[in-house]
C-alpha cells in the first residue's frame, strides 16, 4: 500500500479540529519543559525558591527606591505574563485582550478602594470580575481559532478600554484617575507596595507551578496539541479553553491591581497597544509554554523598556529590530536557547570532548 495514499486517507478520516490546532500547537509545544517532577528535583526547586524569595525579601532593606520600584514592576509584569503565557503558551489560544483585563484590574481596584473596599480585598475581587469578563471574551473561542480568535479578542479588548474612557464619572475618562496607595504602617509606601507585590507573585507562581506541572497543565497541553481529539480521552476541550481564558483574565487583573499601586495614576492610554506589545514580547521571550519564562520575559522587557524609554525614532527602530531579530533567530523564545544548548548535540559534543580528554 502506498504510504502517501494512506496518509491522505488518515488525514481525511481524522475528525474535526485536528489539523489546525495541532499545527498551531506544534510551534509552541516545542518549548515546554518536560514536566516530570522527581522527588529530588522538586526538593531542589523548593530550596532554590526559598533562597530566591529570601533574597527578594531583602531588596527594600538594601536597595534604593528606584531599584525597589523596578523590581516591583518586574514582578508585576511577571505575574501578568504568567497569565498570558497560560493562555497563549499552554492552552494555545492567542487571546489579545490581556492588556485590557490588566486595565480592569487596575481600575477595578482603584474604584473599589474609592468606594471603601479595603485594597487587599480588591485584589481577588478585581480578579473575579476580570475572570468573568475574560469568559465573555473567550466565548468566541468556541468557534474561532488561531488568528481569528486573536482579532476578535483584540477588538473586544479595545472595546473595554474604550468603555473605561467613556465611563468618566467612575474612571475620570481619558484624563485618568489617581490611585489610593495602600501602605503598611511603619514602613515606606514603596517598601509596603513591594511586599504586597512580592507576596502576590510568590503565591501566584507557587500555585501556577503546581497546577501546570500536574494534571491541569497536562490536560491544557493535550487540548492545545490534540484539539477536539481530547474528546476521546474524556476531556472537554471547550471547558479547558474557557477555563484558560478565565484564569488568565484573573491573573491579568490581579497583576493590574498591583500595577495601579505602583503607578499611582492610571489612564486608559496606558493599556493600549503600547502595553499589549511588550506583554506579547514578554511571553515570547520567556518562551510560550514554559514554566519560568514569564520571569525572564518580564525582566527582559523591563530592561528593554528602560533602555528604549523615550521612544525616539532610533529607539523605536532598535526596538522593532531587536524584536524581529529575536524572533528570526530564536522562534521559540529566549528560554528555548538554554534548552537547546541543554539537550542538543552541542552538549553531546562537549561531553564527548570531556571523555576524550
Amino acid at each position: 500500500m502506498s504510504e502517501t495514499a494512506q496518509q491522505v486517507a488518515a488525514a481525511k478520516a481524522v475528525p474535526p479540529g485536528d489539523g489546525p490546532s495541532g499545527l498551531a500547537g506544534a510551534g509552541i509545544a516545542a518549548n515546554t519543559v518536560p514536566g516530570r517532577t522527581t522527588g529530588g528535583s522538586s526538593t531542589r526547586t523548593g530550596i532554590i525558591a526559598i533562597i530566591v524569595l529570601l533574597a527578594l525579601f531583602a531588596v527594600p532593606f538594601v536597595a534604593n527606591t528606584y531599584v525597589v520600584f523596578v523590581v516591583s514592576l518586574t514582578l508585576v509584569y511577571a505575574v501578568s505574563t504568567l497569565g498570558f503565557n497560560l493562555l497563549v503558551g499552554w492552552s494555545g489560544q492567542i487571546g489579545l485582550a490581556h492588556a485590557a483585563l490588566f486595565a480592569v484590574g487596575a481600575y477595578g481596584s482603584a474604584i473599589g478602594v474609592e468606594y471603601g473596599i479595603p485594597f487587599l480585598l480588591t485584589i481577588p475581587l478585581a480578579g473575579i470580575v476580570a475572570a468573568v469578563l475574560a469568559l465573555v471574551i473567550g466565548f468566541p473561542a468556541i468557534r474561532l481559532r488561531g488568528f481569528f480568535l486573536a482579532i476578535a479578542t483584540l477588538a473586544l479588548g479595545m472595546a473595554i478600554v474604550e468603555l473605561l474612557t467613556m465611563a468618566r464619572p467612575l474612571t475620570g475618562g481619558g484624563g485618568g484617575m489617581s490611585v489610593n496607595v495602600w501602605s503598611l504602617p511603619g514602613i515606606t509606601t514603596a517598601a509596603s507596595t513591594y511586599f504586597v507585590v512580592l507576596a502576590v507573585a510568590a503565591i501566584m507562581f507557587f500555585l501556577m507551578r503546581r497546577a501546570l506541572l500536574g494534571r491541569f497543565g497536562r490536560t491544557l497541553q493535550a487540548v492545545r496539541d490534540l484539539g477536539q481529539l481530547t474528546g476521546s480521552l474524556g476531556v472537554s476541550a471547550l471547558r479547558y479553553r474557557l477555563v484558560a481564558f478565565a484564569l488568565s483574565g484573573f491573573i491579568a487583573a490581579v497583576a493590574g491591581t498591583l500595577y495601579g499601586q505602583l503607578q499611582t495614576f492610571i489612564f486608559p492610554a496606558m493599556f493600549q497597544m503600547n502595553l499589549l506589545v511588550p506583554m506579547l514580547v514578554m511571553v515570547f521571550v520567556g518562551g510560550a509554554g514554559s514554566m519560568w519564562g514569564p520571569v525572564v520575559g518580564a525582566a527582559f522587557a523591563i530592561v528593554l523598556i528602560e533602555f528604549f524609554q523615550d521612544l525616539g525614532d532610533q529607539q523605536a527602530i532598535a526596538y522593532g529590530l531587536v524584536l524581529m531579530l529575536a524572533i528570526s533567530v530564536l522562534p521559540g523564545g529566549l528560554t528555548s536557547l538554554a534548552r537547546r544548548v541543554g539537550d542538543s548535540r552541542f552538549m553531546a559534543r562537549l561531553r564527548r570532548r570531556e571523555v576524550a580528554e
Binding site: 500500500m1 478520516a13 503546581r210 481529539l229 476521546s232
Partner: protein
C-alpha cells in the same frame, strides 16, 4: 483466551450507512462486537477508520444505529462516548510532543481521577495519591506493552512507538470498548510480539472488555482475534474465524486488487 462465544455484544452496528457527498463509505454495516478481540480488516479506503469514528462520536451515521451495551451512541459527542467507556487510538498518532511518554499516557486517565483541579491546586493528599497511582499504572502499562524509556519526550519516539503510547493512553481509562486503528503499523516483529502479549495480558484482566482492532498485518489479526470481519467498499463481505475468512475467495479477490500480501 477467556472469550465466550455467547457473550452479549458490547457494541452493535445496526445497518449503519455513511456517505461523504456521493462517496458511500459505509453501506449497511451490521456487526456485533463481543468481549475479547475482534479484527476489522479490509483494503485501503474500505471504511474501517470511518467505522471507528462512527462509534467514538466523531461522525454521525446517515442511517442505522450504533449501540453500546444496548444504549445508542448516536447524537453523543466524543467526550460523552468516552465517558461511557470507549477508548480509542488514532491511525496517525496524536500525542503531546514535548511531554514524556508516561505523562502522555496519564492524559488518558480522566475516568480515574476522583479529585478536581481545585484539590490539585491546594495540594490535598487525595489529589497527590490519585496522581501517584495513575503514574504508576501508566508506567506499568507501558512496560507491559513493551515500551522502553518511558520518561523520554513523546516526539523522540519513532511513529511505531508513538502508537504504543497511544494504546497505553487508551488503556489507562479501563475501557469497556477499546478501538485500535492499526496499532502495529511501523513496529518491528519483536515489538509486535510485545504488543500482542501486552494486549493479551490486559484482556485477561478485563474479560468483559471488547477490543476492536483494525490492522493490515493479517498475521497479527490471526494471532489475536477469534473473529474478524472484512470490510470492502463499505460493506462487510464476510466475517468469522480469521483462518477461514482469509481463505474465503471473496476476500482474496478483494485483497488482490489492493496488493496486500496475505500473512503466512
Amino acid at each position: 483466551m477467556t472469550t465466550t462465544a455467547v457473550a452479549t455484544p458490547v457494541v452493535q452496528f445496526v445497518d449503519v450507512q455513511k456517505a461523504f457527498g456521493g462517496n458511500k463509505v459505509l453501506v449497511d454495516v451490521s456487526l456485533d462486537v463481543r468481549p475479547g478481540f475482534t479484527g476489522l480488516i479490509g483494503p485501503n479506503g474500505a471504511g474501517k477508520t470511518t467505522c471507528l469514528n462512527v462509534v467514538s462520536g466523531y461522525l454521525q451515521p446517515d442511517a442505522g444505529d450504533v449501540r453500546l451495551a444496548g444504549q445508542s451512541v448516536l447524537g453523543r459527542a466524543p467526550m460523552e462516548v468516552a465517558r461511557m467507556g470507549v477508548s480509542r487510538t488514532f491511525q496517525t498518532p496524536r500525542l503531546i510532543p514535548n511531554l514524556s511518554a508516561v505523562e502522555n499516557v496519564m492524559v488518558g486517565g480522566s475516568r480515574h481521577y476522583r479529585h478536581g483541579h481545585l484539590a490539585e491546586l491546594l495540594g490535598l493528599p487525595s489529589a497527590r495519591r490519585d496522581e501517584r497511582v495513575q503514574r504508576e499504572r501508566a508506567y506499568a502499562l507501558l512496560e507491559e506493552l513493551g515500551l522502553d524509556h518511558p520518561d523520554r519526550a513523546a516526539n523522540a519516539f519513532p511513529v511505531g512507538s508513538q502508537k504504543i503510547i497511544e494504546v497505553a493512553r487508551a488503556l489507562l481509562n479501563d475501557p469497556v470498548l477499546l478501538l485500535l486503528d492499526e496499532p502495529a503499523a511501523g513496529l518491528g516483529a519483536e515489538d509486535v510480539d510485545r504488543l500482542v502479549n501486552g494486549l493479551n495480558a490486559w484482556t485477561a484482566r478485563n474479560p468483559e472488555a471488547a477490543v476492536m482492532i483494525i490492522e493490515h498485518d493479517l498475521e497479527l489479526i490471526s494471532r489475536l482475534c477469534p473473529t474478524a470481519a472484512v470490510l470492502h467498499f463499505g460493506r462487510i463481505i464476510t466475517s468469522g474465524a480469521p483462518k477461514d475468512v482469509l481463505r474465503d475467495p471473496v476476500v482474496v479477490e478483494a485483497y488482490l486488487g489492493a496488493d496486500v500480501a496475505a500473512g503466512d
